[in-house]
């Protein structure tokens, strides 16, 4: 039986968020108006490693930006970053190996884009906010929940913008799915179950090698918190420097659970182990279950991150309801929407342009298998009405710079990012203790 939802998002948030003061579904409380709409935004790029370059390539498509300074402790990254900026804007940005030096010398900066290792996110973000800059910082916010709390406090203390790089929050496909299909049309009916995974191949999970001729001076590495060059290149595998795969990969998708449900989970159970990479400090195979109390009733979300195998569709999230299931991914081809047999027809949604119907797959031949008689009818398959042709991070960066100009509100400011990330910090402890953790305001609040 279909259960009509009578609770508005506002009611939902008010009821669900009382305990922890959460407002997960309504991000974007901040906007600024530092430069005029026609002025250039002067930017410092902090960290020009792989992710820093990904962000830069996305920013290169956004008009009105001026990359004034570049900072990276590794000369190789710094040189490459400076060259990329010069190639884009025709003149050389100022290069630094130390952020304090940069902040002391550079005048007229409006914003910093931070893509340093996770354990540096919080100190760098706090420094930049306190220096009066708006900040775009990569996720995961920090390697510890306390460091993440510091970022929220610094944002609120400084009054500056701080966007966290959960880029799906600005992805048109995700925003449309959440606002128009799940909340607007209640297309899934009552959502009972969510699933998500990031299955990454063994090849993609190997340690990152480096050219020994380009190695950083050990004294410099130590000054910036790295034991050696291997740790510098592979900080994601060390407990003191990152949260491991559940944080590095899982944060993107567990954020979607919390954002779409509009509420934080009340409990987490996790299991994990070093099932393949025996020498790594972080688990290479983690499974976790979050329990939610939604206004409509209980819901559970399962998430797995695996670093040995890419089969099973790579990475995606799905929301399974009484009337339909939405499977969504940053990769459009991994996405689909399924109408349950017996749910009201979606023809009107197709006519209005909210959905596109996918061609029906060929019917399998009748089976003599006795089990077949227990099978449900195959659901009809639909898809979103469109996609977008931009680098994945570009819409989120566009949102940040629009907010800096005072033309938009942030899609994922530090407070809302924290409220969504907080449960993730408790996955590894649950897996280590092999016990569920009841998530209280103490666990989840700033």
């Amino acid at each position: 039986m279909n259960e009509p939802s009578v609770i508005s998002r506002r009611d939902f948030l008010a009821k669900a968020g009382i305990g922890a003061g959460l407002v997960l579904g309504a991000p974007g409380m901040l906007r600024a108006a530092t430069p005029g709409a026609s002025d250039k935004i002067h930017i410092a790029l902090i960290g020009m490693g792989k992710q820093g370059r990904v962000l830069f390539e996305a920013m290169a498509n956004i008009p009105g930006l001026h990359f004034q300074a570049v900072c990276d402790i590794w000369g190789y990254n710094l040189k490459g970053g400076v060259a990329k900026v010069r190639a884009l804007q025709g003149h050389t940005p100022n290069g630094y190996t130390d952020i304090d030096d940069l902040l002391a010398k550079e005048k007229g900066l409006d914003a910093a884009v931070i893509a340093t290792p996770d354990f540096w996110h919080s100190p760098h973000t706090v420094k930049c906010l306190d220096a009066g800059l708006h900040v775009y910082c990569e996720k995961m916010m920090a390697h510890t929940i306390e460091a993440a709390r510091e970022m929220v406090r610094a944002m609120e203390r400084s009054g500056k913008l701080c966007q966290i790089g959960h880029q799906r929050r600005s992805n048109p496909r995700y925003r449309f799915t959440r606002e128009r299909l799940i909340d607007g049309e209640r297309i899934c009916g009552r959502i009972i179950n969510a699933n998500g995974q990031w299955n990454r191949s063994l090849r993609a999970s190997q340690d990152i090698a480096f050219n020994k001729k380009l190695a950083i001076d050990p004294a410099v590495l130590n000054r910036y918190g790295f034991k050696d060059m291997h740790q510098f290149m592979n900080w994601r595998t060390y407990r003191d420097l990152s949260g491991g795969p559940i944080s590095d990969l899982g944060a993107h998708q567990i954020d979607i659970f919390n954002w779409f449900f509009g509420i934080a989970p009340k409990r987490v159970y996790a299991s994990g182990g070093n099932d393949y990479f025996k020498d790594r400090e972080h688990f290479d195979n983690v499974m976790c279950i979050f329990d939610y109390d939604t206004p409509q009733g209980g819901a559970r979300a399962f998430y797995q991150v695996l670093t040995t195998t890419s089969a099973g569709g790579g990475f995606w999230e799905s929301f399974m309801g009484t009337e339909g299931t939405i499977k969504i991914s940053e990769i459009a081809s991994n996405s689909a929407i399924y109408r349950e047999d017996g749910a009201p027809p979606w023809d009107a949604l197709v006519d209005r342009g909210l959905l596109r119907r996918q061609p029906a797959p060929p019917k399998p031949p009748p089976s003599a298998d006795a089990v077949a008689s227990y099978e449900s009818a195959a659901p009809e398959v639909f898809e979103l009405p469109g996609g977008f042709n931009k680098p994945a991070h570009q819409p989120h960066l566009e949102n940040f710079f629009s907010a800096v100009r005072g033309e938009a509100t942030l899609h994922c400011d530090a407070r809302h990012a924290f409220e969504s990330e907080a449960p993730i910090f408790w996955v590894n402890p649950s897996a280590h203790s092999r016990a569920p953790i009841e998530l209280t305001p103490e666990h989840l609040a700033v």
Partner: protein, 174 residues
């Protein structure tokens, strides 16, 4: 009375039509093949309509449109060009030149054959072009392509044989 006038007077109608049809076919084949070397596609994104108006989320649908422009020019298909380059008998200096000339040559010969400008010479050069392409395909063992071009060459030969029955020409000489 000249020989040509004699030919015209004595041409059976079937052969005149045959000559015209072959001329049309070969001219069109050469002209359009040359023009296609300037063809490319242009992708444009358009906001999808929801409830009759363009959506505000940034969801778009990509429409691909074929268009012709000088900057789209590609003489030899890339896949074939790289195979030709690897052939020891292929002149590395001549290959880029051939690549540059192939499209314009096809267009000029196509126009000449369609309009009937120096019909026999034009057909002869078109035959040479097909022969040169055939040689390249023999080198890289594309037997299907060789047969395909041989068919074209037979049509050129037939057109040359029917040339005395050609009508409606701009320059009947040569």
């Amino acid at each position: 009375m000249t020989d040509q006038e004699t030919d015209r007077d004595e041409s059976p109608l079937g052969l005149v039509f045959g000559a015209l049809l072959l001329r049309l076919w070969l001219g069109m084949r050469a002209l359009q093949t040359g023009l296609e070397k300037y063809a490319g596609t242009k992708a444009t994104d358009q906001a999808v309509n929801i409830d009759g108006t363009p959506n505000t989320y940034g969801l778009s649908a990509t429409t691909t449109v074929k268009h012709y422009a000088l900057e789209n020019y590609h003489g030899l298909p890339k896949a074939l060009a790289s195979k030709f380059e690897a052939e020891p008998l292929m002149s590395k200096a001549m290959l880029p030149l051939f690549d540059k000339l192939l499209g314009p040559a096809m267009i000029l010969l196509g126009i000449a054959i369609l309009l009937g400008i120096a019909q026999r010479v034009s057909l002869f050069f078109l035959g040479l072009l097909f022969t040169s392409l055939t040689w390249g395909l023999i080198l890289i063992k594309q037997d299907d392509g060789v047969s395909w071009l041989a068919t074209h060459l037979l049509l050129v030969v037939a057109a040359l044989a029917l040339a005395p029955h050609n009508r409606f020409t701009v320059l009947r000489k040569w």
